[in-house]
Symmetry: C2
Subunit: 337 residues, 2 copies
């Protein structure tokens, strides 16, 4: 049978669910990778050693936004969470919670985007689940992705591993993802270069680790933005972090949109950027490696770790003062990822 909208029966565990998954989802997802079958678990080879595991749910509103959608966002986000622990991402799972009435062709488009993003990152989506809830009990589509990777020997990356003297390197411009979603949500035409930066950073990380295996900390500043990530670093490592505002790259379009909406790009979500803490004597090598990767072209040193004050982030402002850059307290941009 053919349907163009999701019905409750598509979540039943019965024939209609099988038709939907086998007929429309699986053909879009399988290919060169481990096959997604109808078993309860996917079984794959795995090298011994250390495994990295992560999960994220995506509730972004709207589900389609400039430069991407909830599907490639979910794949890139989970790939990046694995990469930030120094892991080589291998396998992903995906769980869909679909609101009754969602157009099936939109769901298929999102699944195709997930497959394309997985291919680009070099990972396989090996297991999935679909639940349907009644109209008005969800918001079209929520996606959960979980991911598994292998951590190479000798790699020990942790938010708590930063030492005074470390250089802090940012991979590119701030606030692109958050402002792309906001512009779409608010129906504001801020300009055509306001697109998400959603991207897989796993190869960038591998190239950074190749020149600096002793990397101290890595994180992708998503919800809460760079300011929240730096505060997590300072808190976990018991160091101070001193940032130079003049060094922070922000696109003019993002700057303009932020001013209009009263937002600070330091707190706006990124989905294709990372911030690294590296020993000072390796900073140049890491920077060169980053600039050679398509997702690290805009890499720059934004500051350093200092002994005092421990647990605080300070920012040297454009006009020459220094102020504390606090963690985001409440909510700036709900449902940005």
């Amino acid at each position: 049978m053919n349907y163009d909208k999701i019905l409750l029966a598509h979540g039943s565990g019965g024939r209609m669910m099988r038709e939907l998954i086998e007929g429309r989802f699986l053909p879009a997802l399988t290919g060169g990778y481990a096959s997604l079958g109808m078993e309860d678990s996917a079984v794959m080879d795995f090298p011994g050693g250390r495994i990295a595991l992560t999960t994220d749910s995506y509730v972004v509103n709207p589900i389609f936004f400039p430069g991407g959608n909830i599907g490639d966002l979910a794949v890139n986000g989970t790939v990046n969470d694995l990469a930030m622990s120094g892991a080589v991402p291998l396998y992903l799972t995906t769980g869909f919670i679909v609101e009754e009435g969602m157009p099936i062709d939109q769901l298929e488009e999102i699944i195709r985007s997930m497959k394309a993003a997985a291919d680009k990152a070099g990972v396989s989506i090996v297991a999935g689940d679909t639940k349907v809830v009644d109209r008005g009990k969800a918001d079209r589509l929520f996606i959960n992705t979980a991911g598994v990777g292998v951590v190479p020997e000798g790699v020990n990356i942790s938010a708590g591993g930063i030492r005074p003297g470390d250089c802090l390197i940012l991979s590119g411009t701030l606030g692109d993802h958050g402002m792309a979603v906001m512009s779409k949500r608010a129906g504001l035409g801020f300009g055509s270069d306001l697109v998400t930066d959603s991207a897989p950073l796993n190869r960038l990380v591998q190239e950074m680790l190749a020149v600096c295996p002793e990397m101290h900390a890595l994180r992708d500043p998503t919800r809460g933005g760079l300011a929240s990530t730096l505060n997590e670093f300072a808190d976990a490592s018991k160091v101070g972090i001193l940032i130079n505002e003049a060094a922070l790259p922000v696109r003019d379009s993002v700057k303009g949109a932020c001013e209009l909406l009263g937002l600070d790009p330091l707190y706006v979500a990124n989905e294709g950027k990372l911030v690294a803490a590296v020993p000072r004597d390796k900073a140049d090598a890491v920077l060169s490696a980053m600039k050679a990767n398509e997702y690290g072209k805009g890499a720059c040193i934004i500051g350093e770790a200092v002994a005092d004050p421990p647990g605080k982030v300070l920012i040297k402002t454009l006009i020459g003062g220094t102020r504390i850059l606090d963690m985001l307290a409440g909510e700036l941009l709900p449902r940005i990822c």
Copy 2:
């Protein structure tokens, strides 16, 4: 600060989210197991070999029901999906999608249930994520769990592995979970023994594999019930499956509730039962092993695999006839798990 309800700001990535997770969620989850920290991924040791991966989202309504809640249901469900591939479950991840306004003490109670269920199954919840959506855009709480296990050498269990002559063994009564949820949802007092059968089946499976490592197929008949599972078996293995209705165990209270609501227990979800296809000469040994486990006390042989008709499930009815037992077509019980 203290709050008793979830606010949008609890999903911000900022200070309120940290307070909620570090102050209230993590203390309930950590203990004897790998610590759930604030890193992007959890990193653990993993033996080499074959890895099993699975994911499930839980949207059950209501979230508290007789004998359990959405939290232990999610843990048991993912443990069981791993177990059904013969894997020893090791690590779980959990993603929460919370509706703004949800009472935090309910969320904590659910998280405590997850920890208790994980302890009982012998698995660790090692990574988590929390998203908050605005009121009216979700239904209190959805949980996604993903799980990782290791598949012992020599174990090859698959829905497609059944051969004519195999015995089909069911571990206990049918329909308990589905009717427990329905009775609560409908506000019907069907009697106090109508409780979910939600339980971790991983040790039961290990004990079955100890006496029958060549086990052909295993599955927990959740959504769609036993009828759907048997149809999946018949379809994947290209065998016929012949079931004896008189052998199917159903509690009187479940039978009564099903009659009242016009439901067939063969299509109602179970969350602590499994059906196994085993070579005939191992059936007695497997049955004995099952009866010795608390979750297999009610184990019984319900039928056999036959060469003809391939892909079909036949049921010998109580009055002596034989009819085709089809897969569930539409939706019987939405949001039962």
